[in-house]
């Protein structure tokens, strides 16, 4: 398992899998099969996948520790960047097909509609994370500061769920489901933080042999 996770090919496979939803959307588009309301369909599809990738990205650290698979870290940046990729498609759908670059109308919506304000904020917060996702930026910022900055992902995921919840009319099952997953993943971190505060000696469950870098935190 470990060797298959560290193989170069696994990254290629995961990358291809992450492109799957985009491929599916393109395929449906080419077959003129984007439902009766393509703008709504593409908006919801890309929004859903943004939330899914945020949840998967947030699940990496717990899964590494619970499954003793530290190699999973290799995929975290890519998964996070795919969340950014799908939110860019989501945002572009809003700007272009939905509002046809009517900037003043859109800006009014950002200010006036709480669900858009929240979604827009989450998108803006993701931008610096995407930019500083490179090894160069980790070095430039230093592991500690880089990690502080990237903890914004917790806030972004919460805002994403709120954005969804404030949008639906009456059937809140899906936003509640994402909310439950995000809450679970954040609670796991909170639990870890409380335990490490209580017992400093076991602060780093990966062991003292492993040099601490931004990637292992």
């Amino acid at each position: 398992m470990s060797s298959s996770l560290t193989s170069q090919w696994t990254k290629v496979v995961v990358f291809a899998a992450c492109l799957g939803p985009f491929g599916w959307l393109t395929w449906r588009g080419l077959h003129n099969d984007l439902t009766s309301d393509p703008v709504a369909y593409v908006t919801h599809f890309t929004g859903d996948w943004t939330l899914r990738f945020l949840v998967i990205t947030l699940a990496i650290t717990p899964l590494r520790k619970i499954l003793h698979l530290p190699e999973l870290i290799r995929f975290r940046r890519m998964l996070g960047l795919f969340a950014f990729f799908y939110v860019c498609l989501h945002f572009t759908t809003w700007i272009w097909p939905d509002h046809d670059f009517a900037w003043s109308e859109m800006w009014k919506d950002v200010l006036k509609r709480p669900f858009i304000t929240v979604g827009f904020t989450a998108f803006l917060l993701l931008v610096p994370l995407a930019i500083t996702s490179t090894a160069g930026w980790i070095r430039r910022l230093g592991g500690k500061r880089w990690q502080m900055l990237h903890r914004l992902i917790y806030l972004i995921a919460v805002l994403g769920v709120i954005h969804y919840d404030w949008l639906v009319k009456s059937d809140v099952r899906k936003p509640l489901f994402y909310g439950f997953l995000v809450a679970l993943l954040l609670a796991w971190r909170l639990g870890g933080w409380l335990i490490s505060r209580r017992d400093k000696a076991t602060a780093d469950p990966l062991g003292p042999e492993r040099p601490r870098t931004a990637e292992t935190m």
């Binding site: 703008v39 530290p70 009456s170 059937d171």
Partner: protein, 327 residues
């Protein structure tokens, strides 16, 4: 250059066999969960199919009178109209009603008309089809979610049926109720709104000639997901006012409950007239996406018209009313 690297892994990183096997079980579990979820999604369809009887295919309607007031705008193709429905008894996703209403039993069917009327009466569907000549009326239909369609509905003015039962002077409003049977509507529990679905109109709104008792669309009887066998169509109000699969009509003294108004009174008013100047609290109502023929992704939004473009016929119903308060 040779770079000597510290070994990445030490013995303590080796996964114990039990955990390794656990992981395999975990992966199997994932696969099983996925399969179970896929199966679960099909359950409502299985329940519906277990009903046995095949779906009633829409029947061709002939001898239709072309109503002179029809809009000349491009029709929304029936494939789009009939696969994009808000009918929460059959699922809250737009494509679900077309799947899960397929075996909805709509025959035999009766509509009881009661309340403040001189001659209460239960109409069979056969009677309803013959109370007046069937007209084809092409109306704009604007959803509160800011999309719109153009549909050739078939029916006649609701006033026809009202005049037969003779509302008394006490009747000030009309309350409508959708047929409700959870055993035929397995997804109804997810709706979030109160069922049976209820709607209402002021009596003068109901008697306006535009208010349509609708039995078909696109030259055929109604598909189940569009409200078979008989529904209301009130073209100057948001789509949710046009109640589907009518079971009961009551003429009443005071303003009746309506489903969305009960669910969120600050978002959905009793009147719910299409009004580009009064936004839904969460989104703008100034423009709409017209669902027409073709690809559709890059179709530009169009401005929403006051009373959905029917101001000449209905604006007088609301003279002196503050439409911001009575939204």
């Amino acid at each position: 250059m040779l770079i000597k690297r510290q070994p990445d892994l030490t013995y303590r990183d080796v996964t114990p066999k039990t955990l390794y096997m656990g992981r395999r079980n975990f992966l199997l579990g994932l696969v099983a969960t996925g399969a179970a979820y896929e199966a679960y999604k099909k359950v409502p369809g299985w329940i519906a199919l277990a009903g046995g009887k095949p779906a009633r295919a829409p029947a061709k309607l002939t001898g239709l009178v072309k109503w002179p007031g029809s809009t000349t705008e491009t029709l929304t193709p029936i494939e789009k109209t009939a696969t994009y429905n808000n009918y929460y008894e059959f699922g809250t996703d737009k494509d679900e009603p077309a799947k899960y209403a397929a075996n909805f039993q709509t025959s035999p069917w009766t509509v009881s008309v009661e309340g403040e009327v001189a001659k209460p009466r239960t109409f069979t569907m056969e009677e309803i089809m013959k109370l007046a000549p069937l007209e084809e009326r092409i109306y704009r239909h604007r959803c509160v979610e800011a999309w719109s369609i153009v549909v050739p509905w078939i029916g006649y003015s609701f006033s026809t049926i009202a005049n037969l039962v003779q509302p008394t002077s006490k009747a000030k409003f009309v309350a409508f109720e959708t047929y409700y049977n959870p055993s035929q509507m397995p997804l109804a529990s997810r709706a979030g709104i109160q069922l049976p679905y209820a709607e209402g109109l002021r009596l003068d709104e109901a008697m306006n000639p535009l208010t349509l008792l609708c039995v078909g669309m696109y030259d055929e009887t109604l598909p189940n997901q569009d409200g078979a066998p008989v529904r209301m169509v009130i073209p100057w109000k948001y789509g949710f006012k046009s109640i589907k699969s009518l079971a009961k009509i009551r003429f009443v003294k005071s303003q009746p409950d309506s489903a969305w108004n009960l669910y969120a009174p600050n978002e959905y008013g009793f009147y719910s007239n299409v009004n580009p100047n009064v936004d839904h609290p969460r989104w703008s109502q100034a423009t709409e996406r017209r669902l027409g023929p073709g690809f559709g992704l890059f179709t530009k939004r169009i401005p929403t018209l006051m009373f959905n473009g029917y101001a000449d016929q209905v604006a007088s119903l609301y003279t002196g009313m503050d439409l911001r308060k009575n939204f």
